[in-house]
C-alpha cells in the first residue's frame, strides 16, 4: 500500500511541471518513506526522514523557489539518450543484486559480524535500552564524530558559496538588480518593509 503510494508520488513528481507542487510532492514522498521505515521497524531512520526530508528540506526548497520562480522550463533535448542511459544503469544495478544474499534471511553475513554482539551485550556494556543510540554514540562514536564534522563542513561550504554571492551583488547592485530572476509568487519569506 505504502509502496504503491510512493510509486504514485514519484510518478507525479516526474510529470508535474509546477515546481511548487513538486516541492510539496517531495515532502509527501519523504513522509511516505518515513511511514515505510516505521513499518519496517526502523523508527530512528523514520524519525530522521520525517524531520529532515519532510520538514527542513521542504522549507529550504521553498526558499530556493522564492528565488527562481515556480515554473519548470521545457526540456530542450529529446529524452531518448537519457532514457537509454537510465535503463542501462538500472539493468546493471539489478544484475549487481543477483549476487546479494536473500533479503531478510537471518543467516546473512551482515547479521552476524558485530550485530549479534551489539544486540546481546549492549544492555550490559552500555546500559541503555535503545541499541541504535548505543551503537551510534558509543560503539561507533568516532564515526558519529566524523559525521558531525561533515555536517559542519557542509555548512561552511554553503556559507562560502552563498555569502560570496551576497558580497558581489552588493558591489554592483544597480546592474545586478535588473538581471536577477524575478521572485516567484509564493515567496512567503519576503517580509515587506
Amino acid at each position: 500500500m505504502l509502496l504503491t503510494l510512493l510509486a504514485a508520488t514519484a510518478f507525479g513528481l516526474v510529470r508535474v511541471r509546477n515546481l511548487f507542487a513538486v516541492v510539496m510532492l517531495a515532502g509527501v514522498y519523504s513522509l511516505l518513506s518515513a511511514g515505510l521505515f516505521t513499518v519496517m521497524d526502523a523508527v530512528d531512520v523514520a524519525f530522521t526522514e520525517a524531520a529532515v526530508g519532510a520538514g527542513i528540506s521542504t522549507v529550504l526548497f521553498l526558499g530556493a523557489l522564492a528565488l527562481c520562480g515556480t515554473r519548470e522550463s521545457k526540456p530542450v533535448h529529446t529524452p531518448i539518450l537519457p532514457l537509454f542511459v537510465v535503463c542501462l544503469t538500472g539493468i546493471a544495478l539489478v544484475y549487481g543484486t543477483m549476487d546479494m544474499p536473500p533479503f531478510g534471511d537471518a543467516s546473512n553475513p551482515v547479521h552476524h559480524h558485530v550485530a549479534d554482539h551489539y544486540l546481546e551485550e549492549s544492555e550490559h556494556e552500555i546500559g541503555i535500552p535503545n541499541v541504535v543510540t548505543s551503537v551510534l554514540a558509543s560503539y561507533r562514536g568516532y564515526d558519529t564524530m566524523g559525521e558531525t564534522t561533515v555536517v559542519f563542513a557542509a555548512a561552511v561550504g554553503v556559507m562560502i558559496l552563498l555569502a560570496r554571492g551576497r558580497r558581489r551583488t552588493r558591489e554592483d547592485a544597480p546592474g545586478e538588480g535588473s538581471a536577477s530572476p524575478p521572485t516567484g509568487g509564493r515567496s512567503t519569506r519576503e517580509t515587506p518593509r
Binding site: I126, A155, R189, R193
Partner: protein, 146 residues
Amino acid sequence: MREEIIVRVGAKILAPFIITFALYVHFHGDYSPGGGFQAGVILAAAFALLALVYGLDEVQRVLPPRFVRGCAALGVLIFAGAGVATMALGHGYLAYNAFAYDPAHPEGGQHYGILLVELGVLVTVFGVMVSVFYLFAGRGRREDPQ
C-alpha cells in the same frame, strides 16, 4: 503572512511545544527513537516556522546569525572535547566509562558520555540548519534598497 491571524497565533502556540519536544527527543534518546541529530533538526524547524510566519528579522533578533554559526562550530568542539575529557580522566578517546561515578559499574558513565556527545551533535545540527535557512531565506531580499 503578517496579517494571517490564525497562522500567527498557531505558530506562537506551537513553537514552545516543538522546542520542548526537541529537548525530549534529545534527553530521551536513550530509551526511545531519536537523539541529537533529530533533536537538532526539530529545534531548527521550530525557528524556521517562526521565521516563516513572523519574518526573518524577528527571529534574527533572537538568534543572530553569528550566534548560530558559533553553535555549528561549538557542537563539534563539544563532541571532540568529550573525547579529550575521557583522555584526561585516564581512559581512551571517547571511552565514556571514564564518566562513571561508581567505579564498580563503569558502564554507568556511558549514559553521560552519550548524552554529552549527542548534545554536541544537537548543537552542530541546529546551528547548521538555522544558518543554511538564514542564507536561503535572506537571499531573496537582496534587491531591497537598504
